[in-house]
């Protein structure tokens, strides 16, 4: 069976046979960059069309269905439109920061891609502090948002940026704590180790109630961290028109837009890795026959299936709930999520120390 693992191994062997090691590294780097950017573009297009279709079906509409088969090319057409549009820079904007901001957000989103395991032994860089790397890099994107909001010299943008700053900084705490609950269980920050520790079952099933609580908190926190409704206060179009990206147009706006979707993909991928076993197939105890059937499904499909399920859940949130108010948003974090996740972490530590989990 052809898997990503075979392809990469074959490529590595072929390159080594024909080139010097330094050249091999260079060629591989270029390949990875091209692949990462291609993945980004494809993910952006797929997620946008998915969001629009999900929203449409929940709202008893049809959604985009004119461009291409079932409207699948709609987001491509939108991208072409955005590229051709003029990117307006406001007169009083800080031009350097204004132009830099979307790239910071985008680069931050791209960097987090490195430790993610897309399939069995298929990843860019499986460093030993993978999860730490993800949590730290994901904090950078708030700088881009603050930068964009400040540099636009627009009061709506500034308000949106400040909201976003307060929001992301607070919600990183509970996201981090709920990630920690799983790290406590498997005892490693390396992404592949975390996945390997779930070979006998996913943490959400093995980890008792604390794992489920951590999973729910993680979902809420990352929804807030990616500025998605019901926590989209940084954009909040009925209050701040478009929040921090009010003044952005054309491709710069598209970069913000794309980064939002990539961030969703990444947090969902991390969630799938931590709680749903990454590319691990679904196994039930000792049902050998069932487990073999599950094993037959390629690992990449498992990974993307779980990730897209989580993305769907986040979209489901967005098209159901009203938006919170800024003080309620912070209340929710500091009065509910943070205490709960702290207690949860404590319980999970006890579980891990006494090996109470399955």
């Amino acid at each position: 069976m052809i898997s990503f693992e075979h392809i990469t191994k074959w490529l590595q062997a072929w390159l080594n046979a024909h080139m010097s090691p330094i050249l091999v590294l260079a060629v591989e780097t270029v390949l990875i960059v091209i692949l990462a950017i291609a993945l980004f573009a494809v993910l952006g297009l797929v997620l946008v069309i998915m969001e629009r279709r999900v929203a449409a079906f929940m709202q008893i509409r049809m959604g985009p269905n004119r461009v291409g088969p079932w409207g699948l090319l709609q987001s491509t057409a939108d991208t072409v439109k955005l590229i051709m549009k003029e990117s307006i820079v406001p007169t009083h904007a800080d031009k350097f920061l204004f132009n830099l901001a979307p790239f910071i957000v985008m680069i931050a989103a791209m960097l987090i891609l490195a430790p993610v395991n897309f399939a069995q032994r298929f990843h860019i860089w499986d460093l030993n502090i993978g999860i730490l790397f993800i949590t730290s890099i994901s904090s950078i994107s708030v700088i881009g948002i603050l930068m964009g909001g400040w540099a636009s010299s627009n009061k709506y943008s500034l308000l949106g940026a400040m909201r976003s700053g307060a929001q992301i900084v607070s919600y990183e705490l509970s996201a981090g704590l709920s990630i920690l609950t799983i790290i406590v269980l498997c005892g490693s920050l390396k992404v592949s180790d975390i996945i390997a520790s779930q070979e006998t079952g996913w943490w959400i099933f093995k980890g008792h109630i604390p794992a489920i609580v951590a999973f729910v908190i993680y979902l809420i926190a990352v929804t807030a961290e990616t500025n998605r409704a019901p926590f989209d206060l940084a954009e909040a179009e009925s209050e701040l028109t478009a929040g921090f990206h009010s003044e952005y147009s054309g491709m710069r706006f598209a970069l913000f837009f794309l980064a939002e979707y990539i961030n969703i993909f990444i947090v969902c991928a991390v969630g799938a890795t931590l709680f749903l076993g990454g590319w691990m197939p679904f196994h039930i105890g000792h049902l050998q026959g069932f487990n073999h059937v599950m094993d037959y499904i390629p690992s990449s499909i498992w990974f993307f299936g779980k990730t897209f399920f989580l993305i769907f859940v986040i979209m489901w949130f967005r098209w159901t709930f009203p938006r919170l108010r800024i003080d309620q948003l912070l209340n929710l974090e500091w009065k509910y999520l943070l205490p709960i996740s702290m207690v949860n972490l404590l319980v999970m530590t006890v579980v891990a120390i006494y090996h109470l989990h399955f």
Partner: protein, 386 residues
């Protein structure tokens, strides 16, 4: 942005009118005239301290068509159609007020059939208006989906209107002395057998999706508090005032047409906050359903229009007619000199008075609360501007 010559005197000192602008530390934001939450061209200059609102200063007139001046050159048949453009969501009720005023002045006896049809149409309009308000208000709060659910029911309603009146929004169906056409032959069936059962079966969805939602409740509970005294002092009317406990339903206090023949409750809440205003409107939908149910199968046979002269001349004097629109009390004040056109006409629009309390009820709250308060005040901008 001002040009430098507009700001400075010839000796490079700041012009007096801009001194205040420079010295003030206030962080002002222009909400509107083009803004998703104002549902029209309302311009609010809000002064902020962080996220907290210090002052809201409405600036109106972006859709002012001076309907009052226009009506001075229109005859008493023609001026009815203009009023559809004021509060376009309750256009039937606006037309009803104008028609009632002419009938009162000329002492025309309106056939009972026409009265029944008018009241049914008024209540259907009220339901349509409240449905749209419900969707739009949920959208202000950040929930997009309710808008489509509300429009699904409203769509059937506009189709029924279209069958009978020939238009979907600005119908111009009321004429002095009755209504313009007889209702379409499917009217009774579609209202009683199609629309009302559909709406009743969907009401629980509204409660599940929005009313019971914890996020929504936190957004509106205790927000935009308007006390009983303030509601009266600010001249608020309709659901806005009834949420503060004021008995102000014109249909109950000064019944017109067949409102004194139907049983319905005046929906009163006492909390005075956004949630109370929300609940008043949601319960008013149920009351409107009950009114329509009482009338729809009992429409008497007969004429739908009383005989009136081709050219209407109101006697000399002053006339005032008020009705309950979906937003509150609409007053039409006509000064007649005995001619074919009004000498002076004044529309006391509910939105104008309801808007005036916005500064008062949002002082000290957050921007999100401003949107919630505006949403539950149910502002329709052409109604405010006229």
């Amino acid at each position: 942005m001002y040009h430098i010559n507009e700001l400075l005197n010839s000796d490079n000192t700041l012009k007096p009118s801009f001194v205040a602008m420079k010295e003030s530390d206030d962080y002002t934001i222009n909400i509107g005239p083009q803004h998703p939450a104002t549902h029209g061209v309302l311009h609010l200059v809000i002064t902020l301290n962080g996220e907290t609102i210090k002052k809201v200063d409405p600036d109106l007139g972006f859709i002012h068509r001076s309907i009052e001046k226009m009506c001075e050159s229109l005859s008493y048949r023609q001026y009815i159609y203009v009023t559809s453009r004021m509060d376009y969501l309750s256009s039937h009720i606006n037309n009803h007020a104008c028609a009632l005023l002419v009938e009162k002045a000329l002492q025309v006896e309106v056939p009972e059939r026409a009265q029944y049809i008018r009241v049914i149409m008024d209540e259907l309009t009220r339901i349509a208006s409240h449905l749209l308000w419900w969707g739009a208000m949920a959208m202000d709060m950040g929930a997009f989906t309710p808008y489509f659910y509300a429009f699904r029911e409203r769509e059937l309603l506009t189709e029924i209107m279209e069958d009978t009146c020939g238009a979907r929004l600005t119908m111009n169906y009321m004429v002095p002395g009755g209504v313009m056409h007889d209702p379409h032959e499917t009217f009774v069936h579609r209202v009683s057998k199609e629309f009302l059962p559909l709406l009743k079966s969907k009401l629980h969805e509204y409660e599940e999706l929005v009313t019971g939602n914890i996020i929504f409740q936190n957004r509106v509970n205790g927000v935009g508090l308007l006390t009983y005294e303030d509601a009266i002092s600010y001249g608020c009317s309709g659901p806005t005032a009834r949420a503060s406990g004021v008995h102000c339903d014109i249909r109950k206090l000064y019944p017109y047409d067949v409102y004194n023949k139907v049983q319905f409750e005046e929906v009163i809440e006492t909390a005075g906050d956004s949630m109370a205003r929300y609940m008043v409107r949601m319960n008013e939908i149920k009351q409107s359903i009950s009114i329509i149910e009482q009338l729809i199968n009992n429409i008497p046979e007969g004429d739908f229009q009383a005989k009136t002269k081709a050219v209407l001349k109101l006697p000399k004097g002053e006339f005032y007619q008020r009705v309950e629109t979906a937003r509150g009390e609409l007053g039409v004040f006509v000064v007649s000199e005995g001619g074919t056109t009004p000498y002076r006409i004044k529309f006391r629009s509910p939105g104008f008075s309801n808007l005036s309390c916005l500064d008062h009820i949002t002082k000290g709250s957050k921007i999100g609360d401003l949107v919630a308060s505006m949403g539950t005040l149910d502002l329709v901008i052409p109604d405010i501007d006229r």
